[in-house]
């Protein structure tokens, strides 16, 4: 709710008043005692703004830390408006998992391959 309202107003507002909106958002969060959810709200705002600008939210998950050069190389394959988030997820065992807009997934991890091998049909 916060995220959607803020993203709508922020986009439509002139540059000079945007800082004021940001301050007001934090005032409202403070007033409602929602600081525990602040991180999630900010993440959602980022998502809304990225979407409004026509970008995609891309999550790159690696099984272990990878060289910066490789990350930069991968980032180049996406557009400038896309929001790219890189993280390390050791449960992948090996390989990489890419999630776009939280809806589409390309899983090339060892964990997925092992799971496929032992998968039981429902």
């Amino acid at each position: 709710m916060y995220a959607r309202a803020f993203a709508d107003v922020y986009e439509a507002a002139p540059e000079n008043v945007r800082n004021m909106f940001t301050k007001r958002l934090f005032d409202v969060i403070d007033k409602n005692g929602d600081w525990s959810r602040a991180e999630r709200i900010i993440r959602e705002i980022e998502r809304f703004i990225t979407k409004k600008q026509g970008g995609r939210e891309v999550q790159l998950e690696f099984a272990r830390p990878v060289p910066l050069a490789l990350i930069n190389e991968l980032k180049k394959r996406f557009r400038a408006v896309d929001r790219i988030d890189v993280s390390v997820n050791t449960s992948l065992v090996a390989g990489v998992r890419i999630v776009i807009d939280g809806e589409r997934e390309l899983d090339n991890s060892m964990a997925r391959k092992l799971k496929d091998m032992f998968k039981k049909e429902l």
């Binding site: 939280g102 589409r104 390309l106 391959k113 799971k115 091998m117 032992f118 429902l122």
Partner: protein, 512 residues
């Protein structure tokens, strides 16, 4: 390292093909009470099977129930406790189905088709199983034909006055502890007695029942040899509401499989009140707006789409049938409550059980005045039709006069005679549970009672005399009277004359 594991890995690796593809996924944003709210999966279908990956990497099945603007309300079908926020959800592109086949006969399964009777796995050979959708459209009007063959329950009161046909939907309704399950169980047990027709496959669906009760029913069926043609689908009271909701549909899918094979099937839904309760629970948790008695708006459709799947198919479609005996539990005899009226209006008649009759010792406690079968009479055997034609009328006349029973000594002889006849017929219609009678024995007993051969006999002696009479006919007139009625379903004047003679002979031998 475990040697078996290494061997298994080697074996799996040999046939493994790595295929990486872009998959549609969602994320659990809220979980609890067997419900998960999922973000993403914007193209999911209603009733689509979803797989939620829990923290142990296992896939937990769920069904997409509510498709909202940005979320999906999904009902978790298995260990909902292991589903946590942030879990990955995959769509499968298919709606929920169950594996069906002949191997199911004699087994107890859960609503997802998994065996729960410790008799081992089902369908070792995939070619033995078919996939049947749990939610499926009912057969169309042109694929059906009128009900024309009877399904014998073995209960005199029902087979004589409320006959049920193959493909019919007959509701069994009554308060708690009035013998609803006993009637359904007798109907299943009696199928092996009906040798004139092919034994139907019976499916007993237990919804929200005590596990001890289900175990007892399975034991009764096993002891009577009825599990040879019966499948039990169990979603007991301890099962999540989602499984209780699915159980009747799973049972129906199993029944449809046999119907599509050209066989007859009989399905008992025990009971749809608890099924409606489970659906209400799910709907409220999914935040669907509550209506009358807090049931959701589509509670009628919940049962109509289930019961419409019971049908008698025409010859072109194999001629199979699915007969449904749904059970509804009323509260203090209130048949005008929401769910009972719905199911009464959907079904082709009802067997109404009264707790007052039950406590008076009339068992089965069928109220013949309020019970009706709308299509079954067309399927009733000619023998029964001929014999029991005036039974309903005589009982109706008795009911009108029943209030005067206590003044019997002051009444005119005609009224007195009618009361006595009514009492005798009521006594004749009493029957212990798990003692269903074959149709030919029902016919001869009712013929003797309605023909006035038991008139004047003390009421306490009726039961014993009836038993002796049946034993007598089984011993001396099996080939001449009982078998011809059973095989032909007719009661010709010759048979009638022979039966009259046999009754007279029996009365002489017993000094009656």
């Amino acid at each position: 390292m475990n040697y078996d594991l290494v061997e298994k890995l080697k074996k799996e690796l040999q046939g493994y093909r790595n295929s990486v593809k872009l998959e549609k996924i969602g994320t659990v944003v809220e979980a609890g009470d067997g419900i998960a709210r999922v973000s993403g999966l914007t193209e999911a279908m209603s009733q689509e099977l979803l797989l939620i990956e829990n923290s142990r990497g296992e896939d937990i099945p769920a069904i997409a129930f509510n498709l909202e603007e940005s979320f999906i309300g999904a009902v978790v079908l298995d260990s909902a406790q292991s589903v946590s926020v942030g879990a990955k959800v995959k769509s499968t592109g298919r709606v929920l189905s169950i594996k069906v086949g002949k191997e199911l006969i004699g087994r107890v399964v859960d609503p997802l088709g998994r065996p729960i009777d410790d008799k081992g796995a089902l369908f070792h050979h995939p070619e033995d199983a078919d996939d049947y959708l749990l939610e499926r459209s009912a057969p169309s009007v042109v694929d059906r034909e009128s009900v024309n063959a009877p399904i014998q329950t073995g209960i005199k009161a029902i087979d004589a006055m409320i006959p049920i046909g193959r493909g019919q939907r007959e509701l069994i309704i009554g308060d708690r502890q009035t013998g609803k399950t006993a009637i359904a169980l007798d109907a299943i047990l009696n199928q092996k007695n009906d040798t004139a027709r092919k034994t139907p496959i019976c499916i007993y669906v237990a919804v929200g029942q005590k596990e001890s009760k289900v175990a007892k029913i399975v034991k009764v069926l096993e002891e009577a040899g009825a599990m040879k043609y019966t499948v039990v689908v169990s979603a007991p009271a301890s099962a999540p509401a989602s499984l209780q909701f699915l159980a009747p549909y799973a049972g129906c899918a199993i029944g449809e499989y046999f119907m599509d094979q050209g066989q007859d099937a009989l399905i008992v839904y025990d009971d749809l009140s608890k099924h409606a309760g489970a659906y209400r629970e799910l709907s409220l948790l999914l935040r669907r707006p509550p209506g009358r008695e807090a049931y959701p708006g589509d509670i009628f459709y919940l049962h109509s789409r289930l019961l419409e799947r019971a049908a008698k198919l025409d010859k072109k479609h194999g001629g199979g049938s699915l007969t449904a005996l749904p059970i509804i539990e009323t509260q203090l005899g209130d048949v005008s409550a929401y769910v009972p009226t719905n199911v009464i209006s959907i079904t082709d008649g009802q067997i109404y059980l009264e707790s007052q009759l039950f406590h008076q010792g009339v068992r089965p406690a069928v109220n013949v005045g309020l019970s009706v079968s709308r299509v079954g009479s067309a399927a009733q055997t000619k023998a029964m039709k001929k014999v029991a034609g005036k039974l309903r009328l005589e009982l109706a006349q008795f009911r009108e006069l029943a209030a005067f029973v206590q003044f019997a000594s002051d009444l005119d002889p005609e009224t007195k005679r009618r009361i006595e006849r009514g009492q005798l017929l009521t006594e004749i219609l009493k029957q212990n549970d798990r003692e269903p009678l074959p149709i030919e024995e029902e016919v001869v007993v009712l013929y003797a009672a309605l023909g006035g051969y038991f008139d004047g006999m003390p009421l306490q002696q009726i039961k014993e005399t009836e038993g002796k009479f049946i034993q007598y006919l089984r011993a001396l007139h099996k080939e001449t009277i009982l078998e011809p009625i059973q095989k032909t379903g007719e009661f010709t004047p010759d048979m009638e004359a022979m039966l009259k003679g046999a009754i007279e002979e029996f009365k002489r031998s017993e000094n009656l």
